[in-house]
C-alpha cells in the first residue's frame, strides 16, 4: 500500500425515485482508496454499500436511479462526467468487479473461454489465440486444476467455489487497478469461503490491485482489509484503519454491531448477546437527522434535529489513529 490515492469518492449521492417517495440509497458518501489498499465497506442490507459501488462503475439502472451529486475521481478523472464510451474502456479493464452469486454473473450459454477472452480481446488488444493463452494462465493462477480443459466447459459444470474462482480469474485478467468485490463469499460455505478469500488476498497482493470489499461479515473484513467504512442508511458513519476501528469503535452503531456478533473464540457463557434494538430505518424520505437515533442508547435531543458532522479523531492525537472519523454528535462541539 502506498500513499497514492487512485480513487476518491466525494459526497456521492445516488437517489431512486419510487412511488412511495425518493429513496436516498447513498446520501453523501466520501472515501479514498490508495494503490494496493484493501478497503472494506460493511453495513447491513439496505445500507447502500452495493449502490455506492454500482455508482462508481456507473451501473445504476436509470430510471429509477440517478446519481444526484458528488464526484468520483479515478486517477484524477471524474467518472461521473465521462461519456459512456470512455467509461466502457475503464469498466472491466481498470476497474473490474465480482459479485455475490457467481451463477448469475456468468452467462450459462457460453463456454468459459468465450466469456474470458471477450474482455481480454476488447481491452488488451490481443488476438484470440493469445487471449485464450492468457485466460488459461489466469485460471491456473486462480487455482483451477487442468485449466486448458476446464476453459472449454460451461458454467454449470463448475461448483460454486470454482465459479467464483473463474470470476476472480476473469476480473483480474486485465490487470485492473481496482477490484470491486460485492459480497464475493456470502453464497459460499465456510471452508470454500476460506479458500476464496485466501486466493483473493494472494492474487491482489501479487498484482498490486486495490480492492473494495463489500460485505456484511465483520469476520471477513477483520482478516482482509486495511481500512474500513461502516455504512448505515446511505451514509458512512465511521471510517478508519481496521485495527483501530475494531480496537476503539467510536460510533454507537459500530460499537453495537461489533458487540452483537457471537464470537467463536469466546466461550459461550450463557449470557445474552448484546443486540441493537429496533429495526434498520426505511430510507424513503428520511429527514435530515441522525438515522440511527431511534436505535441509539446515547441519543440526545440534537440527534433528531440535524445530521452530525464527521469528526476526525486523529486531529486531537490520543490513542486513535489518524484518519479515524465518525459522524456522531457525541464527539461534536458545534451543536
Amino acid at each position: 500500500m502506498t500513499d497514492e490515492v487512485i480513487l476518491r469518492v466525494k459526497d456521492l449521492r445516488t437517489y431512486f425515485s419510487t412511488d412511495e417517495g425518493i429513496v436516498k440509497a447513498v446520501d453523501g458518501v466520501s472515501f479514498e482508496l490508495r494503490k494496493g489498499e484493501t478497503l472494506g465497506i460493511v453495513g447491513e442490507s439496505g445500507s447502500g454499500k452495493s449502490v455506492t459501488n454500482l455508482s462508481i462503475i456507473n451501473m445504476i439502472p436509470s430510471p429509477p436511479g440517478k446519481i444526484a451529486g458528488g464526484e468520483i475521481l479515478f486517477m484524477g478523472e471524474d467518472l461521473l462526467k465521462m461519456p459512456a464510451k470512455d467509461i466502457r474502456r475503464i469498466r472491466g479493464n481498470k476497474i473490474s468487479m465480482i459479485f455475490q452469486d457467481p451463477m448469475t454473473s456468468l452467462n450459462p450459454f457460453l463456454r468459459i473461454s468465450s466469456q474470458m477472452t471477450e474482455t481480454i480481446v476488447l481491452h488488451q488488444g490481443l488476438d484470440k489465440q493469445a487471449a485464450k493463452a492468457k485466460a488459461i494462465e489466469m485460471l491456473r493462477l486462480a487455482g483451477i486444476p487442468a485449466p486448458e480443459k476446464r476453459i472449454d466447459q460451461y458454467p454449470h459444470q463448475f461448483s460454486g467455489g470454482m465459479r467464483q474462482r473463474v470470476m476472480i480469474a476473469m476480473s483480474l485478467s486485465c490487470n485492473p487497478e481496482i477490484l470491486i468485490a460485492d459480497e464475493p463469499t456470502s453464497a459460499l460455505d465456510v471452508t470454500i469461503q476460506a479458500q476464496i478469500l485466501d486466493l483473493m488476498k494472494d492474487l491482489t497482493a501479487r498484482l498490486g490491485t486495490a480492492v473494495i470489499l463489500i460485505t456484511h461479515s465483520l469476520g471477513v473484513v477483520a482478516g482482509m482489509c486495511d481500512t474500513l467504512c461502516v455504512m448505515y442508511a446511505g451514509r458512512v458513519v465511521e471510517r478508519g484503519a481496521t485495527e483501530a476501528l475494531f480496537a476503539a469503535p467510536m460510533h454507537p452503531y459500530t460499537q453495537g454491531l461489533i458487540k452483537s456478533v457471537p464470537r467463536l473464540d469466546v466461550a459461550a457463557t450463557g449470557e445474552r448477546l448484546s443486540s441493537i434494538r429496533g429495526q434498520p430505518p426505511n430510507v424513503i424520505d428520511l429527514p435530515d437527522c441522525c438515522p440511527f437515533y431511534p436505535r441509539c442508547d446515547k441519543a440526545m435531543e440534537v440527534c433528531r434535529r440535524k445530521y452530525p458532522p464527521s469528526v476526525d479523531f486523529g486531529a486531537s492525537g490520543g490513542p486513535v489513529a489518524k484518519g479515524h472519523t465518525a459522524s456522531c454528535w457525541l464527539y461534536s462541539e458545534a451543536k
Binding site: 447491513e44 442490507s45 461448483s159 460454486g160 467455489g161 470454482m162 460455505d189 465456510v190 471452508t191 470454500i192 469461503q193 476460506a194 479458500q195 478469500l197 485466501d198 456484511h216 461479515s217 465483520l218 469476520g219 471477513v220 477483520a222 482478516g223 481496521t242 485495527e243 475494531f246 480496537a247 453495537g256 454491531l257 461489533i258 452483537s260 456478533v261 457471537p262 464470537r263 467463536l264 473464540d265 466461550a267 459461550a268 445474552r272 448477546l273 448484546s274 443486540s275 441493537i276 434494538r277 429495526q279 434498520p280
Partner: protein, 334 residues
C-alpha cells in the same frame, strides 16, 4: 409428560432421494442425503447441527418432522416411533413438535394476516377435534404470543409484506409456539437476517427456552451462532454425523479433522487475531452425496488421512467426556 429423559431419539435415520426416472427413463441413482444418523435430545437442551450446504442437516430436520418419509430408521418422540404412526396419530403427535424455517419471506403466506398465520395451527387442530378452544381464547392466545415474541398486538391485521425480515421471523416463531410444543425444529432461523437483528432473534430463542422449557434442534451453518445457542453440537458431513459432543468441549477440543478445519476456516471479527491466524485450508469441494461410499466420507479432503480410512467407514465412538467422534485417528477399524 412421559418418563423418558430423552425427548427425541433418532436411530439409524436414512433419507435417500432417487433421481432420474421421469416419464420413460429408469431411475439413475440416489442422493444419499442423510445416511445413517443417530442422536438423542434431552428435554430442555439445545442440540445444534452444523455443516456445510448439502451435508443433510435440513433433510434431517424434515425427516424428523415426517415431512419426508424416511427411507430407514426410527424417530422416537417421547418414546413413540413417528415413522410407524397412522396419519391421524401423526397429526396429534406433531402438536408437540413444530418447525421454524430459514426464509421468513417464503415461509409465511403473503395473503394471510399475521394474526391468521399465528392462529392457523390452532384452527387446524380445532377443526380436527384435537384441541378445543373458543374463538375468543384463540384470539387471546394469538395476541399473547405476538407480544411474547416482541410484536405489538396491533399488528395483527397486517400482512407479511408490511413487516421487516426480523419481524417476519418473529411471526414464524409465534406460529411455532402456538400449539405449545415441547420440541422446536429450527432450520437456519437466523441465517437470512442482518447481524443486529440476528442477535435480537437469538436472544428471543434463549428467553423462550427458559420461559417455556423448550427443547431445540437448532440448525445453522454459522459456527459462532451454534456455539452461542447450543448445549450440545453435532457436526454433519455428507449425510452422517462425524462428531457430537457438549458445546464447550467441542469448541475447546475439536477432534475430527473436518471439525478442526471448519473451526479454523470460520472468520473471527477481530483483526489482531484474524491476521495472526493460521488456517487449515481444505482442498476441493464437498463431493456430491450420490454414491455409496465404503471408506470415510471425508477421505478426499482430509489432511490427516491414512490408508485404512479408504477401506472402511469409521463409526461414531466414545472419546471420553461424552465426546463422540467418527475417525480412525482416535480408534482402530473393527
Amino acid at each position: 409428560m412421559s418418563e423418558t429423559k430423552e425427548l427425541l431419539e433418532v436411530r439409524g435415520l436414512k433419507m435417500h432421494f432417487p433421481y432420474g426416472g421421469g416419464l420413460f427413463g429408469g431411475q439413475k441413482g440416489k442422493i444419499y442425503a442423510v445416511d445413517g444418523v443417530d442422536f438423542a435430545i434431552v428435554r430442555g437442551e439445545t442440540l445444534g447441527i452444523v455443516g456445510e450446504s448439502g451435508c443433510g442437516k435440513s433433510t434431517t430436520a424434515r425427516a424428523i418432522a415426517q415431512l419426508y418419509k424416511p427411507t430407514a430408521g426410527e424417530v422416537l418422540l417421547e418414546g413413540r416411533d413417528l415413522t410407524k404412526l397412522r396419519p391421524q396419530e401423526l397429526i396429534a403427535a406433531r402438536q408437540n413438535m413444530q418447525m421454524v424455517f430459514q426464509d421468513p419471506y417464503a415461509s409465511l403466506n403473503p395473503r394471510m394476516t399475521a394474526g391468521d398465520i399465528i392462529a392457523e395451527p390452532l384452527r387446524i387442530y380445532q377443526r380436527r377435534g384435537i384441541l378445543s378452544m373458543s374463538r375468543a381464547e384463540t384470539e387471546e392466545r394469538v395476541e399473547l404470543l405476538m407480544e411474547r415474541v416482541g410484536l405489538s398486538r396491533f399488528f395483527k391485521n397486517r400482512y407479511p409484506h408490511e413487516f421487516s425480515g426480523g419481524q417476519r421471523q418473529r411471526i414464524g416463531i409465534a406460529r411455532a409456539l402456538a400449539l405449545r410444543p415441547a420440541l422446536m425444529l429450527c432450520d437456519e432461523p437466523v441465517s437470512a437476517l442482518d447481524v443486529s437483528i440476528q442477535a435480537q432473534i437469538l436472544n428471543l430463542f434463549k428467553d423462550l427456552q427458559e420461559e417455556f422449557g423448550l427443547t431445540y434442534l437448532f440448525i445453522a451453518h454459522d459456527l459462532a451462532v451454534i456455539q452461542y445457542i447450543s448445549t450440545r453440537v453435532a457436526v454433519m458431513y455428507l449425510g452422517i454425523v462425524v462428531e457430537i459432543s457438549g458445546s464447550a468441549e467441542l469448541y475447546r477440543k475439536p477432534l475430527h479433522p473436518y471439525t478442526q478445519a471448519l473451526l479454523s476456516a470460520a472468520p473471527i471479527p477481530d483483526p489482531v487475531i484474524e491476521k495472526a491466524r493460521r488456517r487449515i485450508i481444505l482442498t476441493g469441494d464437498v463431493p456430491s452425496p450420490d454414491k455409496v461410499r465404503t471408506g470415510c466420507y471425508f477421505y478426499d479432503r482430509c489432511n490427516k488421512r491414512m490408508d485404512k480410512c479408504a477401506k472402511s467407514l469409521p463409526r461414531l465412538q466414545d472419546a471420553g467426556d461424552g465426546h463422540q467422534v467418527a475417525c480412525f485417528l482416535y480408534h482402530e477399524p473393527d
